[in-house]
Symmetry: D2
Subunit: 386 residues, 4 copies
């Protein structure tokens, strides 16, 4: 029985995520789940009326319901400077095009950032943020939330420990179907901004979920591809961004891979799946059944590793809340990033334990390299060296 006193809850602000949003609500549940954070301020909408109404629904102090994120950054920094209760971090849950200016505003105000992915809509912007983060000494957590799953962390640890041997083959795919029809024409808010290059950036499906797939494969294997050959397709007539992505991957160690992401794959909900084949073992994981990982040692029976098993690498246990057989899911994985980031912020001398601005830069480099290859009919193109 340790006489630990819990550290205070960290104060969170939010930009975006007002009424009608999807990911904002997810961030709020994720922040709340492990009781490390309390939401105290927001620029939930740029429309003042909507900002206030959204804040009221979340029981925010009306004084801290802003409609201008720059004002929010200033005001909250001010509170902190005066020994007060300004936010410790801001969660940016806007459409992609605003990630950059909002992040700039808060970083420059010395406020830590949780940013939805993709970090920005261009590599240049991402690199700018990278520099800014270093300059201001703040931390940035990029919510590549699938890395919060305990079995993904176990997978990474197993690969890192050499249990898989040399990676030979990477198969990663992320299939959805919610954009199989021109949903954006119906005014559906999520579809509208995600298919508008002005708001989402030049990459559609690629930026939205292709980046998740690429990041997950890299997170688990510890390897980024060296060269890629890509094809982008737009199946739905009139759509202004890609809705289907195919990429061939070559790695420095000779490994090969395929990345497939689609938002027009009829019947698929949120099917992110990773398979890695090594010289000593293979692993398979499927986001829609995240509580088990297939681990297949060469020449032996496949094993079903389940979240909660005592024999898993310790990182898995650290990212779980309930015993085996009590399924955890998307929200718990997302919450894990908030839990980890809270720990990071309470020990700023320690290395970060969550994806950050560097991941964002690599992700944008991937996006721009795919765009470049696709525009040259799939010519093999090198990723910039980090």
């Amino acid at each position: 029985m340790s006489p630990t006193v819990a550290p205070r809850r960290l104060r969170l602000g939010m930009v975006g995520g007002g009424q009608g949003a999807f990911i904002g609500a997810v961030h709020r549940i994720a922040a709340r789940l492990d009781d490390d954070w309390v939401l105290v301020a927001g620029a939930l909408s740029s429309d003042p009326e909507r900002a206030r109404a959204s804040g009221a629904e979340l029981r925010l102090d009306p004084e801290r319901c802003y409609s201008d994120f720059r004002e929010m950054a200033r005001a909250e920094a001010e509170r902190t400077r005066h020994g007060g209760d300004g936010i410790d971090a801001v969660a940016i849950v806007t459409p992609n095009h605003l990630h950059f200016p909002v992040a700039c505003a808060f970083i420059e105000a010395g406020i830590h950032v949780v940013c939805d992915k993709p970090l920005t809509t261009s590599l240049a912007d991402a690199q700018h943020l990278q520099a800014l983060v270093r300059q201001h000494g703040v931390r940035l957590c990029l919510t590549h939330n699938y890395t919060g799953y305990p079995l993904i962390r176990a997978a990474r640890a197993l690969v890192e420990a050499g249990e898989l041997g040399d990676v030979r083959i990477v198969q990663v795919e992320y299939a959805q179907d919610w954009l199989a029809q021109p949903l954006e024409d119906s005014g559906q808010k999520q579809a509208a901004w995600r298919t508008d290059p002005a708001l989402a950036g030049p990459a559609g499906c690629l930026g939205d979920i292709g980046t998740h797939a690429a990041q997950l494969a890299e997170f688990v294997t510890g390897m980024a591809p060296q060269r890629i050959s890509a094809e982008l397709t737009t199946f739905v007539p009139g759509r202004r961004v890609d809705d289907h992505v195919q990429v061939q991957l070559r790695y420095a160690n000779g490994a090969r891979g395929l990345l497939w992401a689609s938002q027009v794959a009829t019947g698929e909900e949120n099917h992110l799946r990773l398979r890695v084949y090594g010289t000593k073992a293979a692993l398979h994981w499927d986001q829609e059944s995240p509580n088990a990982l297939t681990w297949h040692p060469a020449g032996q029976p496949a094993q079903r590793l389940t979240r909660g098993m005592a024999s898993l690498p310790a990182v898995a246990a650290a990212a779980t809340r309930t015993p085996g057989g009590h399924p955890e899911g998307y929200l718990e994985a997302f919450a894990q990033l908030y839990r980890d980031f809270a720990r990071d912020l309470r020990a700023l001398d320690q290395p970060a334990s969550v994806p950050g601005v560097d991941d964002g830069v690599r992700s944008l480099a991937f996006v721009e390299t795919v765009l470049a290859s696709a525009s040259r009919d799939g010519a093999w193109t090198a990723l910039p060296t980090p």
Copy 2:
């Protein structure tokens, strides 16, 4: 855009759930997840030192960290009476034998109750609570948490709507293996109290998980068995309660069923599974893969219903937070009861939407009937008419 102002968070107290407990932490996450509750008081341990330390970890006001639940009931009721901020409800997460006295204390103080199952360790106690609840006009939520799963609610709605036809066969099972060895001899806290009749009651596996299985089958089919033939087994030498349960079920409409619960089923984690076969369709659901339900219409292909599908009964959508393909799990289902109970408490003129004291009574009646049948070598025994 509705100008709704969120109702205030309900104030929750907790009895039990101090350091080393399992289900207390689950209740706290569940209460927090949908932001309807805030934990403000606790009798987390009967040891004053431990109660204080546990409270400090949860950031409770030291003044509201009690070591005596009766004192807590008095003090919190007092706060409320003086226009103050006393708890709205108490969560009872102690070993089973304390459910009854704790519930009595709070009900008599006019405080609503969330009680872990089984409600009590005897039918008589359960009936006493039933009367007390009515007398004091409070609400009691019994955490049969598996009823919080959206697809279980969809299943119930489909049966209720007649889509399954007449129920013919019920197959329900709940298999675990964590007590396959005499874990109680090692001092493991959970195993110790759950296998001690003085703390858990006369029913071991039967009370712990057999009741969940029985309640789930009843919840979905809308039918309780009329007569049962039961066998209780204790596999682990020296164990003082059953660790394996087999029950045959006869229903008033002629349906037949089998209930199997075991805590010595090697390799099983928390495998609660329900299959119901009707004249028009069948349904299968598995707690370890809770985001899908197999629905098999007679003479047609089996269908895979997934949480989040637009075509599900509305009750499913009402019990979910994320779109299809973003798996929800045990904690979300548990949270659903807290969310529903908050709604119930804010509209006390409406019927309850969560399992309550009547379910607890029926559950204890089931337990005692199983014990009676088993003690007479499986003689078919009628359940008491409610």
Copy 3:
């Protein structure tokens, strides 16, 4: 390179299995598959015209197309006696009530028998055959075809080798739905005889598939139950035999079990499933996915054993034809019995390698004990000691 000359194909006759039959065609494919048998004679129907026509479809010599099985037994034995080409064995694929007289006729003629299960419609008849087989020194193969699956043989070998530890729990079920409606009223031939006690015997679902389930559990665990408590149900109005079976099982070593068989389980095709939980490991097998077996060692990850794996017990490899990943199924498992029985007949001094008349006797004892228990409201009833 061994200079082996293949032994001659064994000559098979068949009783039953004419036009419109199901299992006769299965036996013929099974006999043919591994090229150990050739079908040369038949009493395919008791109607002479139909017998001839059925024989012509199978390219039988018209002279050896009999309409009277007794005549066939005499004539074929005669052929053999005169140094000729009489059949080595007869396959009995008639409705159940004829198994006994047909088997008697051929055994008495000194001809080996392959008999579809159940062996007879009464224990007394089965015991009579048991004596007759010994008296005449012939071999009888009872087609408990599910024992022909390589992974079932692997399972048996693993249990026998002690890898599972002491068996604690047996869960076996066999669910179908083809009799969920009164199909017998439509004149469908299979349904008609299987629900007519005069043709099928007093046990409906129990005799048809319940016996398969009981035999499979016994085959794998090496244990028959000592006492059982049973309930038989007839769901379809007007049906004259049971269509749903539930049996509780007690074993001599203290193990417990449940057997469930049903032919009214909506949506189920031929779902025979066995789970055995021991002190050291558990195993799960499902006939509809027969090329994998789940093997779950206590405290370790579940393993997926697949047909064809080098590490399986040798008996598995001996019962398979293709490498792993090339699925084998029902016909191959059935063929395995014919392959094994051919080997048995070529080495009559060796012990039998297929289920035989003793299994038939035990099966009928099981049937009659279930009938007895069910007729006494599920009273626990001992199985006769073999």
Copy 4:
């Protein structure tokens, strides 16, 4: 009751498939299973001693055990010419490089051919055979055996009937691991010839299983890709052919696809899997679980279509032998081609119902186009127009 007399069994010869071979035994079982064929002659080995010994094991007339396939073609044609019992067809089950000369010899002798895939080791040879087949008026069955699966035929029928809508995405993969190590160095016969360009042709994994994957996708969708971008990899040091294939596919209607084949995918046995996404529905099929097909109509629950269901397209029922729930597998699917080819040979005025020489030509065109693209660093390359 039809008074049908069965047509005589067709007489089959075999070239290759002697002791130690794999696919020869499969062809023999497949030919035998439905009783349409009888094996009567063979050039099972070019070594006379081995040819005789192999023939003896198969109970062949020693006179018809040849060691020279050309002699066999002459002698068997001679038998037929003299009103005798020469073979109706020959099965070619040699290593790839012999397919061409053997096929030439038998076609020129007017004997029908069953040829293992790939048809030849070059497109030119395949085209030569195509011409020869037409010239001599014989039939050639190319054993793309996976097209024999009933649910693959159902899938094709569903696509053809427009139920899937327009095909948008094709994902086909064929993963094995048996060549993950340099097995050829151990002298294992299968590995030795399949990795020797002189025997297998210039394509390793590509020719061996990549062709199966390509053909299956084309069979089901009714579409061949128009252009492809390919990469071939050899993972195992010293290996002389590719052991890993990745191909991007573009179709004339705008559809996109990925084909992945590998023989170094640790843990994979024979994992051929096809997914096709259309505008109205999607389908998924997995060769290792071939008795079910997932059919996912847009906006509706996924359906599990099982072999044997009454509602399947009629072509499925025509390719099955047992009711639903009685799994069929690899051998039955292979047998289906022999059954169909027998029907074709008995009705030579009817169109062929099995893959034939044209499929072989298209397959070799695919192989050569992949080789060409891969040699130009994945440049998009058009397939020759048929």
